[in-house]
């Protein structure tokens, strides 16, 4: 894109600057739109599973429901509790929202369609997603209220716990792909299964890791059955209890942007990203971005499906699953996978 702006007569630095800003907007706006509709899809899926109709009043089939909700919170008054720590109280939702958007910078939507194709892309995502805990913890503390504080403590422990096993799963994928760059990871999946199937999931050693990754991504985004941070039966609304108006909306947007990111990561790391499911020429006539979006949407459907069917975990069960099952399991797989790759000469001969 920089070249395009250069051709308009700008010097390189200005062109780079304008191109980057344009790129950010090109990702952020469609993402916000996607979040609005994804919320609608979420509600529709739950409704269908519960044999209800779901939102169907605002606009045809309820298509404008999210915008109506958005307008409602936008017009509300922002209430800051008098005992709250004002600065941090306001910054917390902004951090959540910013961090949720920032991670998208390295996500490749199709071959070459990526804002920053850096060589440590996956590590960047890991780093950014480890920041998202701050929005929650700061909100819980700054509210100066018991339930949000409990929720913040839960969130901190939960996210750190699951990040550990996510890290090991990423190591497994990176070992096989031989790169931390997301584009290269996707390319490494071309024809991975018997030269036909595009995707690491078609691999006996990586499939269990995908299962663990999917469950961990539920925990990482605090979705049911791991939504203990906002367990409404215990903690009112968790860390969001004291929030209203746009601050509340920012949490909502950030949360769904994070969920979409996790769906995209499932796609990119295990299901071949923008590649068609099977390495077969006619399928490449469909643009890569369509495949990417379809796969991401499929994973979003799985997220809603889980939410509509699975009851919430108890906190000790959550910790047990994270530390006593996922962590040892992913560690063993790092060991087994690196051993297998070494034995089969995947890395070439060591110098």
């Amino acid at each position: 894109m920089t070249e395009f702006f250069q051709s308009l007569g700008m010097n390189y630095e200005w062109a780079w600057f304008v191109a980057t800003i344009a790129g950010i907007l090109l990702i952020a706006f469609p993402l916000m739109l996607a979040v609005a509709y994804v919320i609608l899809i979420d509600r529709k899926v739950w409704a269908a599973i519960n044999l209800r109709k779901g939102p169907n009043v605002v606009g045809p089939f309820g298509l404008l429901q999210s915008f109506a909700d958005g307008l409602k919170v936008f017009l509300q008054e922002t209430i800051i509790p008098s005992a709250a720590n004002k600065g941090i109280f306001i910054i917390a939702p902004i951090i959540t929202f910013t961090v949720a958007l920032a991670a998208w910078a390295v996500v490749p939507f199709a071959d070459g369609v990526v804002l920053a194709d850096i060589n440590v892309g996956l590590l960047y995502i890991l780093a950014i997603s480890s920041l998202s805990v701050y929005g929650v913890v700061m909100a819980g503390w700054a509210s100066n209220s018991k339930y949000p504080f409990f929720s913040a403590m839960r969130a901190a422990a939960q996210m750190i716990s699951y990040e550990v096993s996510i890290g090991f799963i990423l190591v497994c994928v990176v070992l096989w792909a031989g790169s931390w760059n997301l584009t290269e990871i996707v390319e490494a999946q071309r024809g991975h299964g018997f030269g036909i199937v595009n995707g690491f999931y078609f691999n006996l050693l990586l499939f269990p890791m995908w299962v663990v990754f999917f469950i961990s991504s539920l925990a990482e985004t605090q979705r049911v059955p791991f939504d203990l941070t906002e367990a409404e039966s215990e903690l009112v609304a968790g860390y969001q209890t004291e929030y209203s108006s746009m601050a509340f909306a920012l949490y909502w947007l950030g949360e769904y942007a994070n969920i979409l990111l996790m769906c995209a990561l499932n796609t990119l790391l295990f299901f071949g990203g923008w590649l068609p499911p099977v390495d077969w020429a006619p399928l490449y006539w469909v643009p890569g971005i369509i495949w990417f979006l379809l796969k991401t949407l499929f994973f979003f459907f799985m997220f809603s499906w889980v939410m509509a069917t699975v009851p919430r975990y108890r906190y000790d069960q959550l910790m047990r699953l994270g530390w006593k099952i996922f962590l040892p399991m992913s560690l063993i797989f790092v060991f087994v996978i690196s051993g297998y790759l070494m034995a089969t000469g995947h890395f070439g001969n060591p110098a």
Partner: protein, 206 residues
């Protein structure tokens, strides 16, 4: 130009948040400023081309260590007035340490004149191939030349883990909260329930 702007932005932020870390009245604010300082330091690393170190700084320090730090500081009721009293008492010691650190800084700046560091053997014979990305170079060095030190560092972490478990683990005598998931999943209606059809007024024998 853009690099220069970014550098001055990050550098100013690191220094400012460093100052605010020690100046804030609220310890939680201090920790948050510290986190901001880490984050901006990571930015500086990126500018230096050390993107791997930058990401590690964020993942390890910001994402894990500082969260636990924040966690503890939030739980503790730190009385700043008491701390300030200690500040006066320990002021001379603090000044002494500060002077030592200042001397170190001066020496460090002086060390710039000692020439560049060699990354290979003492003779520089085995210097790494800088053509690769730094993530590959670090990996290659860690698993070849520095394998012994690297693995021994792993042992240190193992010992730390054993220590933490030895000092805190207690065998719970009660079974409260213990759950045998396999057992729960294996249970079926036939074993768990009984069909009884008592006649009226007879009651059920349990």
């Amino acid at each position: 130009m853009i690099q220069a702007i970014a550098f001055y932005l990050f550098a100013t932020m690191v220094i400012a948040s460093g100052v605010l870390t020690i100046m804030s009245r609220n310890p939680v604010h201090s920790v948050l400023w510290l986190i901001l300082a880490f984050f901006n330091a990571a930015g500086l690393m990126v500018l230096l081309g050390a993107e791997f170190i930058a990401m590690l700084l964020v993942v390890v320090y910001v994402g894990a260590v500082a969260v636990l730090f924040l966690f503890v500081v939030m739980m503790l009721d730190v009385d700043m007035a008491e701390l300030r009293a200690g500040f006066i008492k320990n002021f001379p010691l603090g000044i002494a340490i500060a002077l030592v650190l200042l001397a170190e800084l001066v020496l460090g700046i002086g060390a710039l004149g000692a020439g560049p560091l060699e990354l290979g053997t003492a003779s520089g014979a085995n210097a790494p191939n800088l053509a690769n990305s730094n993530i590959e170079n670090i990996g290659a060095l860690l698993y070849s030349k520095y394998i012994f030190v690297f693995e021994a560092a792993g042992l240190i972490l193992l010992v730390a883990m054993i220590g933490a478990i030895v000092l805190t683990h207690r065998d719970l005598k009660t079974t409260r909260g213990h759950q045998n998931i396999t057992k729960q999943v294996r249970r079926n209606p036939k074993e768990a329930t009984q069909m009884k059809q008592p006649t009226v007024g007879e009651g059920v024998e349990l």
